[in-house]
């Protein structure tokens, strides 16, 4: 049976999704990217194959995406995360017209059509303040993990404003608020709100439509999602799958399409 893999070499983690011919997800795996994209891509693919007892010979096509897409060393086609994200989101929820992807390195707002094709997109500017890195960095200085931060934020009744323009400034602000004895929950809620406001700017510039799907590592953060909903209205989250896999699902789907196209363009040749 032919299988199709999507490998997303992101700045924080490398994800792999395996699809069968019918487009059913048969396996997923995630490893930290570390500093060797080539190795992490190989490992993640190897592991997902192992986990699903698949044979490498069955792998008909691979599409790589993410920052490390060109150096994965896999015999694959490279596609941008934006295109893959659109496809993946449509696969999970066909009514989606806007995807908000909050990754470690960047945040994106992507407008898609009814087939999952990208119509428009916008990405954060160079500053890390609009990305997942913003929260990661502050989590370190607060000595909290992201999950705990999300929980505190959701509980908080108070939102203390934090500057959204620069990670370093925000960090200084957080430290000064803590030393003033202000409530940590309120500070964290303020941080999530600051990040949500940056994402909101990306989205409104596209004149987005509903349904809105939030994915990437940021979608795992209930505090952030709540703040995004305050600005953009109700959003949907990928159901039954880790939201970080959306681009790799799209990549695997594109791998499957490319295989089909090849077959169609070679009539007479049997598969």
């Amino acid at each position: 049976m032919a299988l199709f893999a999507g490998v997303d070499s992101g700045s924080t983690s490398t994800k792999a999704v395996l699809l069968d011919e019918g487009g059913i997800i048969i396996g997923t795996h995630l490893v930290p990217s570390g500093n060797n994209f080539r190795k992490s891509a190989e490992v993640v693919l190897h592991t997902v194959m192992d986990k699903t007892h698949s044979k490498r010979d069955d792998l008909a096509a691979i599409v790589t995406t993410g920052y490390g897409r060109f150096i994965s060393g896999l015999n694959s086609k490279a596609m941008s995360e934006i295109t893959c994200c659109g496809r993946g989101a449509h696969y999970l929820h066909s009514a989606v017209r806007t995807v908000i992807d909050i990754g470690g390195q960047d945040s994106k707002a992507i407008k898609i059509d009814g087939t999952g094709k990208v119509v428009q997109f916008s990405l954060n500017d160079k500053c890390a303040a609009g990305t997942g890195r913003f929260l990661e960095r502050i989590a370190v200085s607060l000595e909290l993990d992201l999950e705990r931060m999300a929980g505190l934020s959701v509980q908080s009744q108070q939102k203390l404003p934090i500057s959204s323009t620069c990670v370093v400034f925000a960090e200084t602000e957080v430290i000064s608020r803590i030393s003033n004895g202000e409530a940590i929950e309120g500070i964290i809620k303020g941080l999530h709100s600051a990040l949500a406001s940056r994402i909101h700017i990306l989205a409104v510039g596209l004149n987005i439509e509903k349904d809105i799907l939030v994915c990437g590592g940021g979608a795992k953060n209930a505090g952030l999602v709540k703040e995004i909903e305050e600005l953009l209205g109700e959003v949907v989250l990928p159901s039954g799958i880790d939201p970080r896999f959306v681009p790799s699902i799209g990549a695997a789907l594109i791998a499957r399409d490319s295989q089909r196209e090849q077959v169609e363009s070679k009539p007479g040749e049997s598969q």
């Binding site: 596609m79 941008s80 934006i82 960047d106 428009q120 160079k126």
Partner: protein, 414 residues
């Protein structure tokens, strides 16, 4: 590795040689002025009076194209020129403050006089005032009002600028020791008007499919009407380019091998990466025009029968074609939209690349409004990129490539 390239104009080679010669000649030319080239009539007039003119702004582009902007900006910042300041200025002061003396084309010699005009951004005044203090040399400033909304130059603006010009001429005559003659003024006004005519002609020719020139050609050729304005030499160069482009149109020769998409670029291109056009060329995309090249510089036909009035009007026309300074007002008041609609139709544009350039606030303000206008009104795909015109340190290839690729995939050029 890029395999497809923009087919460079032969006349661009002549122009490059001419630019090199100009930079060599300034070393033996006195008196020498440093000036801004924003439709600044003081340049045309200085040349008639025998004052040679060099442009630190243009030299900043030269240094940037040779990948020295990182070095110069860092030096300038170490001397407290803040990173928020336009990178042309940081390049210029970095060049001046660098100790090693290894500069592209040998650098530009110290000026005897500084010329500026207030028709552009405030930096033109502050930068040149700082140079005045640095060199301890006189600054001759042509003060002009800004025009944001009026399409006809009000008579009192004109009177004011003519009076200002007279005062500046008086100063320049004293510096040069020469007197301005009516004949020379008429000649300069004629060349200035004719250059405008040929620049418009070049842009007009680029409406043809396939486009005979890419953005990189236009970005090189703009040197002529901006920096050689009012000279017969500049006019000859433009005529030569126009003849070559006309020939390409006749022979249906395009700037890129296989034109499938025609894009418009907004904002100043990143001079250290002008080859970005080749990345687009690989995907069948050509840039027949950019706002910087079409709306910023004076492209109107300005009567030259009264040379003083011609030059005053020219100074008042800078940036008034849109873009520059007028961007946000024009976008919001939809004039930009109307003109853009016509250009999008005439140039057969099917997508846009909008640079947000933190150095040039004037060119960047309103950029996202334009992105929205193009997306919503013209329903065309838009790519927004974050690139500084002349500070290569801020450029991140992985980030830009990610945006380019997504854009190419959107327009079906994966």
């Amino acid at each position: 590795m890029l395999t497809v390239k923009t087919k460079r104009l032969e006349s661009a080679r002549t122009l490059s040689a001419a630019i090199r010669k100009i930079y060599q000649e300034v070393w033996t030319s006195r008196p020498l002025a440093w000036s801004v080239n924003s439709s600044n009539p003081l340049n045309d007039i200085s040349r008639i009076l025998g004052i040679h003119v060099a442009y630190p702004e243009n030299y900043a582009c030269v240094c940037t194209a040779q990948h020295l902007s990182g070095k110069y900006c860092t030096i300038a910042e170490a001397h407290n020129y803040k990173p928020e300041l336009c990178s042309y200025i940081r390049n210029n002061f970095g060049y001046l403050l660098a100790k090693d003396g290894n500069h592209p084309m040998g650098g530009i010699p110290e000026p005897d006089v500084l010329l500026s005009v207030s028709n552009g951004c405030l930096n033109f005044i502050k930068w040149f005032d700082a140079l005045r203090l640095y060199f301890d040399k006189p600054l001759v400033l042509l003060n002009t009002p800004h025009r944001l909304f009026e399409y006809d130059v009000p008579g009192y603006y004109l009177e004011y600028v003519i009076k200002e010009l007279e005062i500046c001429i008086d100063k320049l005559e004293k510096i040069s020791g020469n007197k301005l003659t009516g004949r020379k003024m008429r000649e300069a006004a004629y060349y200035s008007r004719e250059q405008g005519k040929y620049w418009r002609k070049l842009l007009e020719l680029n409406k043809t499919v396939p486009a005979p020139m890419n953005l990189s050609d236009l970005a090189n050729l703009i040197f002529i009407p901006t920096s050689l304005s009012g000279t017969a030499f500049g006019l000859d160069l433009l005529k030569e380019a126009a003849a070559e482009v006309q020939q390409r149109v006749r022979n249906k020769v395009g700037a890129i091998p296989e034109e499938r998409h025609r894009l418009v670029m907004f904002n100043i291109p990143p001079w250290y990466r002008l080859d970005f056009v080749n990345r687009f060329a690989e995907r069948g995309c050509v840039f027949p025009f950019g706002d910087y090249l079409r709306y910023v510089w004076c492209t109107q036909d300005i009567d030259d029968s009264d040379p003083m009035e011609h030059f005053a009007r020219k100074a008042l026309s800078f940036g008034h074609n849109g873009g520059y300074g007028a961007t946000i007002a024009e976008t919001l008041y939809s004039c930009m939209g109307d003109r853009l609609a016509k250009d999008i139709k005439d140039f057969k544009i099917d997508g846009a690349v909008i640079a947000i350039n933190k150095s040039c606030k004037i060119m960047s303000t309103g950029g996202l409004d334009i992105a929205r206008l193009i997306r919503e009104k013209f329903r065309l795909p838009v790519l927004v990129i974050d690139v500084d015109q002349a500070d290569e340190r801020t450029y991140s290839d992985a980030e830009i490539k990610q945006r380019y690729d997504a854009f190419f995939e959107t327009i079906g050029e994966a």
